[in-house]
């Protein structure tokens, strides 16, 4: 194996993800604004410039039982999430680790989800319990033994959310696996032919069903509207990331953007058969990367349209929606057999 190529490809993919992730945040906001009949912020403002601005603010110690761990969570998660992107690139397929399987990718996705629970339990924002206001006074109701912060409630909801709302995306990931009869990313990609002779899984019936279910799972993974109960603005303000400020908030924004990019890239790899190849030696290689990046724009654009029209679904609606799409996913799996 050529180590130079390996390093170059990893670095280039990282840079692409770090650049386009924040841009996606802006695109999402811009499309929503257009649906809302207003001009909206410039595309770079909600993502890229906000992140740079937060990095230029003065660091501070957050209200948290473990401040350094709390601040370390977003960078750690970004690296972990990037591993998914690296694993889908051809340079990593041949590694003796044989991690480039969809089972490993699902495991890493679980890690990302659990991070929010940790975030929620480590944060102590002043917006709820510690707000200086005399509400616990003589004569006030004193029933509960625990006064819980918004973030605590958010952590509880994230656990429920992980349990319920991640079914669709896992089912959808395994539809290409069943079609290609292999859990290796390599086999799923090669099954769909080379770049110049593509037969994307998306254009088969089970693949299309899978793509729809993947889209719903994607929104649920991003905790975007309407699957935003774990950090519902109506009652929890922002939930787990409430206490991130200055550079840590910049990192958190990057995490959100990169997660958006990586899941979108995984979709392109699995359903279009175009992996993130870094090969500057030929026109085909370059156009493959460009094509890959262009196709990753598809899911965020669709998400922003859906989220502009979706209210927060409470668990009452979340159970039927999630189980309904899981059932559709299972139907797609059966079709693929």
């Amino acid at each position: 194996m050529d180590y130079v190529n390996f390093i170059i490809s990893t670095v280039v993919l990282t840079v692409v993800a770090l650049f386009f992730g924040p841009v996606f945040l802006g695109i999402e906001r811009k499309i929503q604004a257009r649906i809302q009949q207003r001009i909206g912020p410039p595309i770079l403002t909600p993502g890229t410039w906000s992140i740079l601005k937060f990095w230029n603010k003065k660091p501070f110690t957050p209200n948290s039982p473990m401040p350094s761990l709390y601040h370390a969570l977003p960078p750690v998660t970004i690296v972990v999430v990037l591993v998914i992107l690296w694993l889908t690139s051809p340079e990593w397929w041949g590694l003796p680790l044989s991690l480039a399987t969809l089972v490993a990718i699902v495991g890493i996705m679980k890690f990302e989800e659990v991070m929010y629970v940790v975030m929620g339990s480590l944060s102590r924002s002043i917006l709820s319990v510690t707000m200086p206001y005399g509400d616990v006074v003589k004569g006030a109701v004193t029933k509960a033994t625990i006064r819980r912060f918004f973030e605590g409630q958010s952590a509880v909801r994230f656990i429920k959310h992980i349990t319920i709302a991640s079914f669709p995306i896992y089912i959808a990931i395994f539809i290409p696996v069943v079609i290609a009869r292999s859990i290796f990313v390599q086999d799923v990609v090669l099954y769909q032919g080379s770049f110049l002779d593509l037969h994307p899984i998306l254009f088969t019936v089970p693949g299309f069903v899978g793509a729809i279910v993947y889209f719903v799972g994607y929104v649920a993974q991003l905790n975007d509207y309407p699957f935003t109960i774990a950090k519902a603005k109506g009652d929890l303000v922002e939930g787990a990331p409430l206490e991130y400020g200055a550079h840590a908030r910049g990192n958190y924004y990057i995490l959100r953007g990169v997660w958006m990019f990586v899941l979108s890239s995984l979709f392109v790899t699995l359903f279009f058969g175009i992996p993130p190849v870094v090969d500057f030696s030929s026109m085909v290689g370059v156009s493959q990367l460009v094509m890959h990046v262009l196709l990753t724009f598809m899911l965020p654009v669709l998400v922003s349209v859906l989220s502009a029209f979706g209210p927060i679904l409470t668990f009452k609606q979340l159970y039927p929606v999630s189980f309904g799409f899981t059932a559709i996913g299972v139907f797609g799996l059966l079709l693929a057999l």
Partner: protein, 149 residues
């Protein structure tokens, strides 16, 4: 890196409502939520989280009951930060601070806002028009961009 340009291109404002009559509050929300005014096109975004904010918009004459909360919120905004007083109440206390009958003016008012927090921008009016609020936010952005830290 990109300090000034990034600060000019992304500003988060937080709205704190410290008593008063709600008129300014609704007009500020009107600036942000109404597509008719749409403050986001001027790169200003509304947030409810002090950790995310740069500019604190305060409406109302800062009542004693809310003063500690307001100070705590101001402290939790990371530097650099600015405070803007929206409306006559925040600037001079308006009728609650200046009018009084036999028993004198209201004793509940801890303000006006300058007594509590350092004010960088004042937006007069009872209530100020949305256009005024937008232009004040736009004029506060360069001050924010040139601040040290």
């Amino acid at each position: 890196m990109f300090k000034e340009v990034s600060r000019k291109n992304a500003v988060h404002v937080m709205l704190v409502y410290s008593g008063g009559c709600n008129g300014c509050d609704i007009e500020v929300v009107n600036c942000v939520l109404s597509p008719y005014y749409d403050i986001e096109q001027y790169k200003v975004m509304l947030t409810w989280n002090p950790r995310e904010a740069d500019i604190l918009l305060v409406t109302g004459p800062v009542l004693k009951r809310i003063e500690p909360a307001l100070k705590k919120i101001y402290e939790s905004i990371p530097d650099p930060k600015l405070v803007a007083a929206v409306g006559s109440c925040a600037i001079n206390g308006n009728v609650f601070f200046n009018l009084g009958g036999d028993l004198g003016p209201s004793e509940e008012v801890a303000g006006p806002l300058d007594k509590v927090l350092p004010v960088a921008a004042k937006i007069p009016g009872c209530p100020p028009r949305p256009e005024d609020i937008i232009s004040a936010a736009a004029s506060a952005i360069p001050i924010l961009a040139e601040m040290e830290v």
